[in-house]
Amino acid sequence: MTPSHLEYLLHLADNPLILGQRLSEWCGHGPVLEEDLALANTALDLLGQSRLLLTRVATLEGKGRDEDQLAFLRGEREFRNWTLVELPNGDFARTVLRNFLFSACQLPLWQGLQRSCDDGLAAIAAKSLKETRYHLRHAADWVVRLGDGTEESHARMQAALAELWPYTAELFAVDPVEQDAAATGLGVASASLQPHWEATVRPLLEEATLAIPARTPFLSKGKLGVHSEHMGHLLAEMQIMQRTYPGTQW
């Protein structure tokens, strides 16, 4: 396991960790009880996936770190999540749309990672794939319901799509860490996920009567450790307990 490989595994772990953190913010604030539960349970699944992945990194790294230290003591530039997942939740439309765009990429990603040369990662992928199917179904249903809904819900969903779409370019951008992981059989080249993602996303957005924005040159760089202005605030909230009382367990 080279440092580059560990970076790749951290990227895989940080996406569900940060999105799980964002979805947890909905707990107690959902528009209806069923969706409060749905978002909290989705967050729970994601945090569980992140825990498994971070533990895998810690084991392979062999430096005596554990999942908690990796989650709560790394600095902003050491996080490798897509910028998409660190953005504020916004309204319910934006939240479910992000879940849809995210899960539509996680599905082919987990499918590919089942063949990873690392047995631990392959096992986590096989498990996470099953949960992701339910996340995708839940989010997809809501995107259609709200997109092809009332004037208000359609307007909010269309606005959400305009805001989030530019951040999806990063999901398929080529970077050396991923290329190296794919070349050695550890990971999957994200560019190879794009056809599957487009095949899932475009027809559904059309069914939701949404206009798909044109591509612009904007490219976010969260997976390279260069995050948006939102990441610092997110980490401050997420990490405050461990940083205030280092080593505390309860």
Partner: protein, 160 residues
């Protein structure tokens, strides 16, 4: 000192904390028990990645085995093959139904992305006219349904 057979019998009495009508063996969480050199190893496969009962189940397994006389207990987590509702014991379906939870009505396999699978029959009155209220119920592993015939809500153990 416990034999493997004795250990299995003890574990068959350890209830799942969230669905206490089923034991951890009926849920297919306990995959293997090995007794070697006075030490007992229990291999468990967690259900959902984020299942909050996972640690509670391990604590319960240790306590039950210790009470039955085992002194050296090791719990090993095995992630592959991934847990599936196909591993539920045959008698589990009826126990769930009696408890008011609809058991998985289809084998795990691939769940469709957009189409809602056939609705499970109501565990109370058996009617097929049921509708889904929420993808998630009291726990991540169950969905919330309502019976249109007897009007009662019920939980559905999701195939995975």
């Amino acid at each position: 000192m416990l034999s493997e057979a004795q250990a299995w019998r003890v574990l068959a009495q350890v209830p799942d904390p969230e669905v206490p009508v089923l034991s951890v063996t009926e849920l297919g969480i306990v995959r293997e028990v090995r007794a070697a050199g006075g030490a007992l190893t229990v291999v468990v496969t967690p259900t959902y990645s984020g299942c909050p009962a996972t640690e509670a189940i391990e604590v319960a397994i240790r306590a039950a085995l210790r009470e039955a006389g085992a002194d050296s207990i090791r719990i090993e987590t095995r992630l592959a093959p991934a847990w599936t509702t196909d591993w539920l014991a045959p008698e589990a379906a009826e126990k769930l139904r009696a408890w008011g939870i609809a058991p998985p009505s289809v084998p795990a396999g691939a769940q469709p992305i957009r189409f809602v699978p056939p609705a499970p029959p109501c565990p109370r009155c058996g009617a097929r006219q049921t509708e889904r209220l929420s993808e998630f119920g009291a726990t991540a592993c169950k969905a919330l349904y309502r019976c249109r015939a007897c009007r009662e809500p019920f939980e559905y153990f999701k195939p995975i």
